[in-house]
Each structure stands twice: as structure tokens, then as C-alpha cells.
Amino acid sequence: MRRFLDRHWYAYAMVLPVVVVIAVLVLYPLAQGVFFTFTNINEANIANPILDRPATYISVGLRNYLNVLSGDPSYGSFWSTLARTLIWTSACVLLHYGIGLGLAMLLNRPLRGRSAYRVLLILPWAVPAFISAFAWKYMFNAQYGIINQALRAVGLPDPVWLGQSDWALVAVIIVNVWLGVPFMMVSLLGGLQSIPGDLYEAAEVDGATPWQRFRHVTLPGLRAVSSTVVLLGIIWTFNMFAVIYLVAGQNPNTRILVTYAFERFFSGASRDYAVASTYGVLILSVLLVFASVYRRALRRQGEVW
């Protein structure tokens, strides 16, 4: 034991602060949150030290899960909300990745004004998300928003973007794609720059077409970067709350799992913490299942991750 500590003490000393913060502020709350899903806790029966009121919530067993998983509309229609969350996530991440890769490849060529383009293209990342959300909400306004004015000017139909229709979902996806592309672009640009140029030269000598070079040099070279950013992108998008909430408000057409949990947490006088936590646990389970499948798929392709 002594030898063990002698050898590792500085490593542990350096890691300790992080571990403590995470344990106190993430793991313990998580355990408590999971516990709440088996109770009927809400604003009326939670312990309130200011009013000096003890907790009076009771255990309800699995009732929260049964209610939510039944797909009952008064509990947020879990299954259709899950389906919408999946559409939202896959649309956003596909577009993030596709556009980000495209732009990164363009920026990876020698061209005049490259650094200026790069600064301009990364700008959406630098603007705080709630500001961008307001900006897009303003631009999406059905009457005076600039987007519809432009559409009218060229004779295209001008939908009520943020109304009670699926256009609202399209609108929030557009906003989120705009927000998320810079991160992908920068990451992939870094990845592209670390692919050795010799590989391209060798491919060219062997007579590979541009498409073949892309397919057999660029994509494999980006594998490590891609697998990480796509996983992070999926997790972040799945839990993306600010964009949807600030652009579309409490619109059932843009409701995903996270925003519904937040509605449940905040709306009304009752503040149903139990159902909000239940949603939280279900979100976490979906992501955990996904991440382990993803990891296994990567490992099967020979990736050590």
C-alpha cells in the first residue's frame, strides 16, 4: 500500500479536485434524482428549509415509469416524443457533419483569404446561444421576419415557421445546424491537417480519382476524429434544450424529451419533480444504450477506444 501511494500520489493529487467536484455535483445528485423517480415529489411536498417544512412525499414504486412509458399524452406522449427526438438528433448531426466536412475540405485548400473565411465561419460558435436563438426567432417571424420577406420576394410560399405545425421543427433544426456546424468544421479541419500529404501523393501516383482519394484516404484518416465528434454531437443534440426552448417556446411540435422534462419541472404551480426526474433517467438510459452500441460497433472495426 505504501509503495502504491509513493508511486501514484501525485497523479491522484492532481485528479482529486475534479473527482471531488464531479462526485459531489454529479454522482450524488444523480443518485438522488434516480431515487426521486420512485416518489411523487413535487413543489408542494418537497422539504423547504425556508418555510421550515419537512418533506412529505411518499414512495410510489414504479408508477412514474408506468405512466410515462404508457405514452399517455398527459405524461408527454413518451413514444412520439422519443421519435421526434430521434428525428431531431439525426437530422441535426447529419447536417452538422456533412456541412462541417464540406467546409473543412474547402478550407483545407490553399486559397486567398483563408483565415478570413475561417473566422467568419466560426463566428456562430462565438455568439452566445441564447443571443442566436433570439436572432433567429426574430428572423423567423411570419409577418415581419426577414426570411419570409425574402421568400415572398422570390415568390415562394411563406410558412408560419414557429406556429403549431412541423415547420417549427424544421425551423429549430435550421437554427441548431447553424449553431453546430462551426464546431464540427474546426474539429474536422484539424483532423484533415493531420493526414500526411504523402498519402495523397501516393494515391495520385497510383491513379486514384478525387473520389477514390476522398473515400480511401480522407475518410479513413478522419476516423478517429469523426467517431469522437459524432458521438459528442449526438449526446449534445439529444440534450439540447436552450435552442428549442428559446426559439419555439413550449410548442408541442418541437417538444423533445429534454424540453418536456423542463416543462414538467417548471410549468404550473405543481412543479412535478418526480416526472421530470423520470424523464431524465429515461434520457440517460437511451444515451447509455446508444453509447455502448456505438462503442461496440467501433471496436468491431478495430478501433481501440
Binding site: 501514484h8 501525485y10 497523479a11 492532481m14 485528479v15 479536485p17 475534479v18 467536484v21 464531479i22 454529479v26 445528485p29 444523480l30 443518485a31 426521486f36 418537497i46 485548400r109 490553399p110 486559397l111 483565415s115 475561417r118 473566422v119 465561419l121 466560426i122 463566428l123 456562430p124 462565438a126 452566445p128 441564447f130 443571443i131 436572432a135 426574430y138 428572423m139 417571424n141 426577414i146 447553424w178 456546424v181 474546426v186 474539429s187 479541419l189 484539424g190 483532423g191 491537417q193 493531420s194 500529404g197 501523393e201 495520385e204 476524429v225 459528442l232 449526446i235 434544450f241 436552450a242 426552448y245 429534454v258 422534462a261 423542463f262 419541472f265 421530470a276 424523464y279 431524465g280 434520457i283
Partner: protein, 298 residues
């Protein structure tokens, strides 16, 4: 999750491409058109907010868009004078919270990232894995218990409480990023330092940190933005008193139930965006190297 040191070496793209033959004029034009178009899309919303910020509220909602329409600096003076809520106090709170988060998060993730990069110790793998897991925790499950904990610690409604919460979001990702960056700094440097009589902490503090400046800059940028733009925890945890709000919470006074004061909101938004863009401009030249050799390499 290993990174080869060679990956930091940026390939001189220029030379490689020229050798492969110059692209034709048409291709060049197409390239620039695409990039200009993409840049316009990236910049336009910000530009449009800037234009709107000079218009009176009533002019901001007219059905024919104009660049200038009774434009003046009135919105800015009114926002800054605190007519619509204590803007300067919100600003101060946000600056304090964002800076504290940045400092603490960078410090914590630098030490943890360095340990993970240089030392083999039992539990390292699970530590890194748990950082990834933390990214998945939806705040919906954490928000009530966190509220309770902050209440118990006496930090509820204070800036420090919020700073700690933001650190839990920022630190895991920053640790990944910095671990990757430290991996690209040759370990020989550490050994040379040890031979010259520095302690492990001395090596970290005097040799490795200065070399890792690009990585640290990117990490700081990320942590700053995380805190500067966060809405959900801020609106849940800060007390309702006007002077304790952050910008993200405070700005919602301009968005009422039926009516939004777009002119004022736009002016306030520009004022909020300026520090973020300033920070961004300072670190942007580090972004590609810092990020690519960091987190993203996995």
C-alpha cells in the same frame, strides 16, 4: 484514446496541393462562391441583429425590411441606463461567473488532463470514461438534487453555486481536450525537467503549462462560453431578485408574453455578444491546432 505526437505537425497543405497541379479558374471561382455564401449565412443573423439594434421597437417589426429606419443609439442608452432592468448588474454577474468558471475549469482540467496524459495509475481508464458519461447526464435529472445540495451547502442563489455547476459541464470536456494536447508535448521535456531537479508539480507548472498555451486558450474559450451563454441552470438557481440575474436570464424581460421589444433586445444582445466575440477573436488562431490535437482526436 491515444494521440501520436506526430499528429500535431501540421502538414504544409500549400506545397502539397500545388504539386498536384493548379486548379482551374472555374474551380477557383466555385470555391470562393461557396465559401462566400457560407460565410454570409454564418454572419447574417448577427449582422441583422446589429442592424435591428439601432431601430426603435416599432420600426423593428415593419413588413418591409430596411437597413436604416429611424436608426439611433437610443436603444443602447436605454438598455445601459437600466430603464428596462438592471442591465449593468446582470452584466457584472455574468462576467464574474464566466471568469470564475473559466479560471477554475481550466485549472481543474489542466491538472487532471496532465495526470491522465503522463501517469499510469489505476482507475485512469474509468476516470476518462466517466467524464464521457457526465456529458450524457441531462440536467433534468440533476436539477432538483443540485438545488437541494446547493441549499445544504448554503450556496443556493449565489454566483459560486452556479460556477460550480458550470464547472461540472465544462471540466470533463476540457480535460479531454487538454489531455490530448499534453499528449502532443514530448515527455522528454518532463524528464529533462526532472533531471534538473524540478518536482512533478514544478515540471507541470513551469514547463508543460507554458508549452500548452494554445490548448489552454481553447479550453478557456470553451469554459467561458459555457458559462456566458447558459440559460437553464441560471434561470432555475438564481434568485428572482433583479440584481442577481445573469444576462441570459435578464434578457428575457424583453420577451413578454405577446410582445417582444426587438429593438431593445437586439441592442442588449449586441452588448452581450461583444465580450464573447472578443474572447473568440483572441483565441481563434489557436482553435484549429488546440482542438484538433485535443479532445477531438479521441
Amino acid at each position: 484514446m491515444s494521440v501520436e505526437a506526430a499528429s500535431l505537425r501540421t502538414v504544409p497543405t500549400g506545397r502539397r496541393q500545388v504539386k498536384r497541379g493548379k486548379r482551374g479558374r472555374g474551380a477557383s471561382v466555385a470555391l470562393h462562391v461557396t465559401l462566400v455564401l457560407a460565410s454570409l449565412i454564418a454572419v447574417f443573423p448577427v449582422f441583422w441583429v446589429l442592424v435591428t439594434s439601432f431601430k426603435p421597437d416599432a420600426r423593428a417589426v415593419e413588413t418591409t425590411p430596411k437597413l436604416f429606419n429611424e436608426s439611433s443609439l437610443d436603444n443602447y442608452t436605454r438598455v445601459l441606463s437600466g430603464e428596462k432592468g438592471d442591465f449593468l448588474a446582470w452584466f457584472g454577474n455574468s462576467v464574474l461567473i464566466a471568469l470564475l468558471t473559466t479560471v477554475i475549469a481550466v485549472f481543474l482540467s489542466a491538472t487532471a488532463g496532465y495526470a491522465a496524459s503522463r501517469f499510469r495509475f489505476p482507475g485512469k481508464r474509468s476516470l476518462m470514461l466517466s467524464f464521457l458519461l457526465v456529458q450524457m447526464f441531462p440536467f433534468a435529472v440533476l436539477i432538483v438534487p443540485l438545488y437541494n445540495i446547493l441549499l445544504t451547502l448554503g450556496l443556493q442563489g449565489t454566483s459560486i453555486g452556479l460556477v460550480l455547476v458550470y464547472c461540472t459541464t465544462a471540466v470533463p470536456f476540457c480535460t479531454y481536450m487538454l489531455k490530448g494536447y499534453f499528449d502532443t508535448i514530448p515527455a522528454d521535456i518532463d524528464e529533462a525537467g526532472r533531471v534538473d531537479g524540478l518536482s512533478p508539480f514544478g515540471v507541470f507548472w513551469r514547463l508543460v503549462l507554458p508549452l500548452a498555451r494554445p490548448g489552454l486558450a481553447v479550453t478557456a474559450f470553451y469554459a467561458f462560453l459555457t458559462a456566458w451563454g447558459e440559460v437553464a441552470f441560471a434561470s432555475a438557481f438564481l434568485s428572482a431578485a433583479d440584481e442577481s440575474k445573469t444576462l441570459a436570464v435578464g434578457l428575457q424581460v424583453f420577451v413578454q408574453q405577446n410582445r417582444t421589444e426587438w429593438g431593445h433586445l437586439a441592442a442588449a444582445s449586441i452588448l452581450v455578444a461583444i465580450p464573447a466575440i472578443a474572447v473568440f477573436y483572441l483565441v481563434q488562431r489557436f482553435l484549429v491546432t488546440g482542438l484538433s490535437s485535443g479532445a477531438v482526436k479521441g
